[in-house]
Structure formats: C-alpha cells, structure tokens
C-alpha cells in the first residue's frame, strides 16, 4: 500500500474534526455546561493555590510567582492531551463492546484515525487560562521577552505535552489486556495534579521515581528550569525533548501493538 503523506493526513484530520464539532454543537447545553465545569476546575485550582500562598511566602526557595509559572506551564502543556487525545477515555468501552473493530478496517493509520475522531473544545478554556497565568507570572518575575525565550518555552511546552500524551496513551492501551482499565487511566490523569510542584520538595528516592519511573517532573518542572533558573539547568532538561519524543514513540508502539492484537468480540 502506498504510504500517505502528511498533507493527506492533515486534510483528513480537518474533515473528521469538522464532523465532530458539528455533532458536539447539536448538544449545546451540554457543551456550555462542560465548558463551565472546566472553567470552574481551573478557578478552583487557582483559588486553592492562592489560599496556600497567603499563609506561606515561599516553598523551598520557590516564590509565589515562580510556582504560579509552573502552574500555568503545566496547564498549557496539558492542553494537547485534553483537546486532541480525549478519545482515549472511550477506548475502553469501544474495546469492551467490540465497536473498536470498525477502526481496524480503515485504510489509514489506526492510531491517527482513532484519536482524530474527537476534539475536545473544552480544553481551549484551559489553554486560555494557562496562557493568562503564564503571562502574568512572567511579568511579575520580570523575565525578559526575547525571541529566544519564546522559542525555548514553545519547544519545552511541546516536550512536556508529548510526555503527558505518552503517559495517557500507554494508560489507555492497557485496556487491550485488562478489563477494568478505567482506574489506570484515572491514575495517569491524576498525575497532572502533581506536575505543578517543583520536584525538589521530594526526598531523593521519590525524586528518582518522579523523574524516571513516572516522569511527571517533565511535565512542568524540568522544562521550566530553562526559563526560571537559566544559570543552573540540569542535563536532564536539555535531554527532555528527546525523552519526550522517545516516550511518545514507545507509547504509540504499545498502543498499536495492543490494537493490532485486538480480535473483536465476535459481534
């Protein structure tokens, strides 16, 4: 079969996307309420942050605005996984009911087709909130705004998103082997709440775990160091774009391996 180019995939992506948005729009009330729910979540996260820092001026040398920076950074880097890979949440029920087989018969990349089917617009609110927080803390810390800085932050935001996407893909793919994989996916989802803390607060054992075994420190902490602590960037930070791509590739392979092994339910 002829390999299809990027242009072909992009064109098809927007076609599928348009269908999904149309179907979402037919449930207008649900859409509005879900967006509100997302905004509420972000506001609540922010309020608890604010309350905490009212009583404590800094945490282990990290000031309020620096923590806010980490928070905003993690919100932005979690947007792609929320917007583009939301269909991972339904994978379990598709596999369980046997409907997943329909994706296996398409003449395009299985992973691509499955993920492109759903675009979660709610995530855009989170993106706006994250950008707002980041810009605000950027100003308050007094960081320079040079093209190099912008380039750095964009590269590292992409890196961070790749890692979260990889975690979620791998967690979702477990449903090809285990029945009740919702809890694993939920666990991976909960990681994002821990991503916003500097990994230096943990003891060395957990620093190791959160860096290598469950790489949540890469979602906000390591990438942010480039901006926040430019004189003292560990080698891991520079490696993180490679680690991000690697993780994504591995998770893609796991996902595809599970999907190709899938036999359907016979119905």
């Amino acid at each position: 079969m002829k390999r299809k180019g990027l242009r072909f995939y992009l064109r098809i992506y927007f076609k599928i996307l348009a269908q999904d948005i149309k179907s979402k729009m037919s449930y207008r009330a649900d859409f509005i309420i879900s967006t509100l729910g997302m905004i509420f979540t972000n506001i609540a996260g922010f309020v608890s942050f604010w309350i905490l820092f009212r009583s404590f001026p800094d945490i282990k040398g990290w000031s309020y605005h620096e923590m806010l920076f980490l928070y905003g950074f993690s919100l932005i880097s979690l947007t792609p996984v929320q917007c583009l890979f939301d269909n991972n949440w339904s994978l379990r029920s598709y596999v369980y009911s046997g409907d997943f087989i329909k994706y296996c018969f398409r003449p395009i990349n299985l992973f691509f087709y499955y993920q492109s089917e759903v675009f979660d617009i709610k995530g855009l609110g989170q993106l706006a909130f994250g950008i707002g927080t980041l810009v605000y803390s950027w100003n308050k810390i007094g960081l320079a705004c040079t093209p190099l800085m912008i380039l750095k932050i964009v590269v590292f935001l992409i890196t961070a998103s790749l890692i979260m996407i990889a975690l979620q893909n791998a967690a979702a793919a477990t449903c090809f082997w285990i029945q009740n994989s919702f809890y694993i996916l939920d666990l991976a989802y909960r990681f994002r709440d821990y991503a916003k803390y500097p990994v230096t607060i943990f003891s060395s054992v957990f620093k190791f775990i959160f860096t290598f075994l469950m790489p949540i420190a890469f979602i906000a902490y390591y990438p942010s160091l480039v901006i926040l602590r430019p004189d003292d960037v560990p080698i891991l930070t520079w490696l993180s774009p490679i680690i991000g791509c690697l993780f994504f590739y591995v998770s893609y392979k796991i996902w595809m391996y599970g999907a190709l092994k899938y036999n359907g339910t016979g119905s």
Binding site: S34, A44, S55, F56
Partner: protein, 267 residues
C-alpha cells in the same frame, strides 16, 4: 420499614465491588501516591514557614486532616451522579422507577455495599498508616466516637447533594460538566484540598454558612480535637444534623417535582 430488603442490596454491592479486585489495587496505589505527594508538599511548606504552628495547625494536624479528607472522599464518593445520569441517558431509569421501592432509597442502598468495602480497604488502612506516621497525633478517646457519628451525617449530606445534582441532570441531560462542577465546588469549599483554617476570614465566613463544610471539615475537626469541649461538639453535630435534614427535604422535594419532567428515549 423492612430493613432486610435493603441489606440484600448492601450485600449485592459488596459482592459486586469485590469482583473488581484489580481496580481496587490500582486505587490503593493511586491513593498512596497522593499521600506521598501531600506529605512532601506540606513538609516543604512547613519547612519554609517561620513557626511550627500555622493558623493553629501543626504539620501533623494538616497532614492528618488532608489525608483523611482524601480517604473520606474516596470512601463517600458514590458516583451517584454518573450512575443516575447514565441511567437517564440510556433509559434504564424507567425500570428502576417502576420497582416497588423508593428510587432515592434504592440508589443509596445499592451503593451502601461499596461503603463497606471502601471503608475496610481504603479508609481503615489509611487511618492506621497516618496514626503510625504521625506518632499518635490522633487522640484516642471520645473524639473517635464523635468522628464516627459525624461521618455518618456527612455521608447523608453528601448523598443529598449528589442527588440534587443528579436531579439537575434530568433537565440538562449533561453529566460530565455538572459532575465536574459539583466535585470541584464540594472539594474546595469543604476543606478537602486546603484546610478551612487557612482560608481568609471573609471566605471562611461564607464557607461556614454553606453545607459543604459539614462533609469534610466537621468530622475532621472533631477528630483532631483531642480535648473536645462538649458545647463545640454539640454545635458541630447539631449544624450537621440541621444540614442533613434540610438537604434531605430539598432533595426529596426537588426530585418529586422533577420526575414529571423526565423524557426517556426508549430504553
């Protein structure tokens, strides 16, 4: 009231939740991870503070408070909104409505089995671990009794709130957004994310007049108070009881008015 038919539902619930042993394991792991993050985060926070006691709470107080709040959340969260919401969408609710048993009670008792298992497998271990880690910062005395009474009331208040939210789903047919909003509001305003003692005074005042603080803050405050003043205990429990009755009546009336609204597409 024939208690036997309700206990049958409890039994079925226990058996059902024991079926999903793996998800139980993942839940325990997730919990553990959360506890670790909380522990180090607050340790770092307290290490950066000037004094050992902040807003009248020591490090072990805060740790016990937050850890047990999470344990209580896991144990009380019944996913009622999800369940009822799904039943409304699929139409299964009709079958439950025609059963010769009050719907509100039916749902409550079918979830009661998971109370038992969650209590034994998540709450109790967490409680023991916390007691060990904080070297007996939990006073063992009458406060345990008050705590148990308070938790029972909290479960009923939580259920009433859940039921009200689920009833709203009858009108909106949106589950995700509504549930998200509820969860966020309850967790923040009940003190489960940041102890209420850290809240600024004005906010604290508002929160004290809402039912949410009766869910987590009330039982935990009773538990942490090693030398309870009879008057305070009576006030706390009395407030909880009042909310319990109040929310019960509201949820019952709201359901009664709304059930005529229901539109079910087949089923």
């Amino acid at each position: 009231m024939k208690i036997k038919k309700y206990l049958t539902l409890t039994r079925a619930g226990i058996i059902e939740s024991l079926q999903f042993r793996l998800s139980m394991l993942v839940m325990v792991i997730g919990n553990l991870l959360y506890l670790i993050v909380i522990y180090f985060l607050w340790k770092a926070i307290y290490a950066s503070a000037d004094s050992d006691v902040v807003n009248g709470m020591t490090f072990s107080d805060t740790l016990i408070y937050l850890v047990l709040a999470t344990a209580l959340f896991n144990f009380m969260e019944m996913y009622t909104v999800w369940q009822i919401g799904r039943d409304i969408q699929s139409g299964k609710i009709v079958l439950d409505l025609v059963k010769p048993i009050d719907y509100r009670r039916y749902i409550f008792w079918s979830f009661s089995g998971s109370f038992v298992t969650n209590f034994l497998f998540t709450f109790l271990p967490t409680f023991i671990v916390v007691t060990a880690v904080t070297h007996g910062a939990i006073h063992m005395g009458l406060n345990l009794l008050y705590f148990v009474v308070s938790v029972v009331l909290a479960i009923m208040i939580n259920y009433s709130i859940d039921f009200i939210v689920a009833t709203i789903c009858l009108y909106t047919e949106s589950i995700w957004g509504i549930n998200m909003m509820k969860q966020v509001i309850v967790l923040l305003l009940s003190g489960a994310t940041v102890p209420l003692a850290f809240f600024p005074d004005t906010l604290r005042n508002v929160v004290d007049h809402l039912p949410f603080q009766a869910i987590y803050n009330a039982p935990l405050t009773l538990l942490l108070d090693g030398d309870p003043d009879m008057k305070d205990v009576c006030i706390t429990l009395g407030t909880q009881l009042a909310w319990c009755v109040g929310m019960f009546i509201v949820s019952k009336l709201f359901w009664k008015c709304s059930i005529k609204q229901i539109t079910v597409n087949g089923g």
